[in-house]
Amino acid sequence: MTYQTSGMPSNRPAAAGQSGRFDRGSLFFDPGLGRNRFNRLCTTISGLFATTAVLPLVLVLLYVLIQGGRLITPSLFTQLPPAPGMEGGGIGNAMLGTLLVTLIGSLLAIPIGVGGGIYLSEYDRQGWFSQVVRFSNDVLAGVPSIVSGVFVYGLIVSTRIFFGQSYSAMAGGIALAVLMLPTVIKTTDEGLKLVPQELRWGAFGVGASRFVTIMRVVLPAAFTPIATGVVLAIARAAGETAPLIFTALFSPFWPEGIFNPIASMSVLIYNFAIMPYAPQNQLAWAASFVLVMMILAANLLARWISRFTRS
């Protein structure tokens, strides 16, 4: 008797029938076997799960596009939000506020984060100090965003440390910086570690100091991963609401400097979504549209940057 390892599907029942002794161990694929049924069942279930996982993004984007997209007019970008219950108006001040608060956060978090990351990767990779800093950084990354707001409230807002001002754009920016910092440090540390050791040796070999080596050789070589991480951190911070609701608060007016309360798109969405007025809800959708577009654009930018990684 010969085994037919590759045969026509139509031959299979005959072959299986002839070899009575080999019924259970047939070499042919038998879709009726328990394990094959189980296989198909599992494949179907995982396919369904993947579809379910994608569904929320599609639905959220769809609603934001439909509900928010149709409200996009030039006046949306240039006007102030209306009084509760009134029609019209725009979100100009909130857009400006989001840009300003995110800028303050970035200006604080990026130098500190990149500097700290340089120390971890270039000066002290394995020492106890670096271990403590890395551990703190991981813990800090897990601190809920609302706690960062509570911290800044306790440290800055309630103590009125800035010229007697309580709620301010500055306080909001600091709260965002607390959230951005762990990401920036982590990506800098990991990005610098990827730089081949030979580059540093080469720089030392021609007589460059540590500082020059880091600034002129190592940092430029790791630009791509660091920039990707920084852009992602900024995008995440721009959408944060929880750290801002009791630090930057909200303002129905145009920004009045960085030591006064300031409007932001995320807080505007929160405030206007829970108002019982339709025009305000509409503005919340419009602001969501602008915010989501900005953040998706930043994410795609980060992906685009990361494609320049040298292999």
Binding site: I146, V150, Y270
Partner: protein, 329 residues
């Protein structure tokens, strides 16, 4: 240093080189200062992170001291939240935090791991798998407050008939005893699932991709089916990273604020029903912190401290699990 370089020059002369042929440049004082200064600057910046964490703990703790003195451990078990009589207990919020995040995890883990398997196996073309992976990652980028807006106006009305059906069928159990009327624990759990799904999927996907191909080849070589290989070889090999990711997601779910605040109903009184409005620590903070004063601020800080300790425990456990559970293969 200077003696070393001088002796180097002498060595060169002895070796027959003329002294003028090469020169050893001494570093300028400014250059040295810059070099050392930069080192200490970056060290200080790195130290700032540890200081910052300590600062957060101290600030929240000192804010909470008054409430800790007034309520003590009773705060954890009492569900009274009465600003008029200044009686505070966070049991409702702690219970809500734990129940909402654990239920969300229960749903999101099979969904996320299943999706990760689906996009790491070769069931569909690579481009389609990349597209699904990208979409799940972009879902993580959507701001929480936008998801909350969507939950209020789209998701909650859409699932309300389902919740009403569950009340009709299971209303005799305490967990479905109340009539669903909009915001509540169940929609909050759904939105939490949406928020932690990307984390679990991304981490599980990375973990599955890192399983050595030899393991899979070996499993197929002894004649197992695809899912036989997945369940008995590939998943066990990746389990430590997956569990670590699940713990990270749990920490994220417990601290998640905006979307939950907007949809959970922010109830002050305790209810065991999943269909009733509830509260979490984070949503309580978001809701009341702005208008609170006196000992209420302190009580909220106390709740924030508890939330910090909860997420801290979960995150440290996650790191520990990743280190301890990893299989050697």
């Amino acid at each position: 240093m200077s003696r070393d370089s001088a002796s180097l020059v002498e060595a060169g002369v002895e070796a027959g080189l003329r002294p003028g042929l090469y020169s050893l440049r001494r570093r300028q004082p400014v250059e040295k200062l810059l070099d050392h200064g930069f080192r200490y600057l970056t060290m200080a910046l790195a130290g700032l992170v540890a200081t910052l964490l300590l600062g957060i703990l101290l600030t929240v703790f000192s804010g909470a001291r008054e409430a800790i003195a007034a309520f003590g451990a009773r705060f954890l078990t009492s569900s009274a939240w009465d600003p008029v009589n200044e009686q505070y207990g966070a049991f409702t919020a702690i219970y809500g935090t734990l129940v909402s995040s654990l239920l969300a995890l229960l749903i999101a883990v099979p969904l996320g791991v299943g999706t990760a398997i689906f996009i790491t196996e070769d069931l569909i073309p690579q481009s389609l798998r990349d597209a699904i992976g990208l979409m799940v990652e972009l879902l993580a980028a959507i701001p929480s407050v936008v998801l909350g807006l969507w939950a209020i106006f789209v998701m909650e009305p859409a699932i309300r008939p389902l919740l009403q059906l569950s009340h009709k069928l299971l209303g005799w159990t305490p967990f479905f005893a109340s009539v669903p009327q909009g915001p509540g624990m169940a929609p909050a759990v759904v939105i939490l699932v949406v928020m932690i799904l990307p984390i679990i999927t991304a981490i599980a996907r990375d973990a599955l991709n890192q399983v050595p191909i030899e393991l899979r080849q070996g499993a197929y070589g002894v004649g197992t089916t695809r899912w036989g290989a997945i369940f008995s070889v590939i998943l066990p090999a990746a389990i430590s990273a997956i569990v670590g990711g699940v713990m990270l997601a749990l920490g994220r779910a417990m601290g998640e604020t905006m979307a939950v605040t907007m949809i959970i109903g922010n109830a002050l009184n305790f209810s065991v029903s999943l269909l009733a409005p509830a509260n979490t620590i984070a949503s309580m903070l978001a809701n009341q912190f702005g208008e609170a004063d006196g000992i209420q601020v302190s009580a909220l800080m106390y709740a924030a401290l508890i939330l910090m300790l909860l997420t801290f425990t979960v995150n440290v456990a996650a790191q520990w699990i990743v280190r301890r559970l990893s299989l050697r293969y």
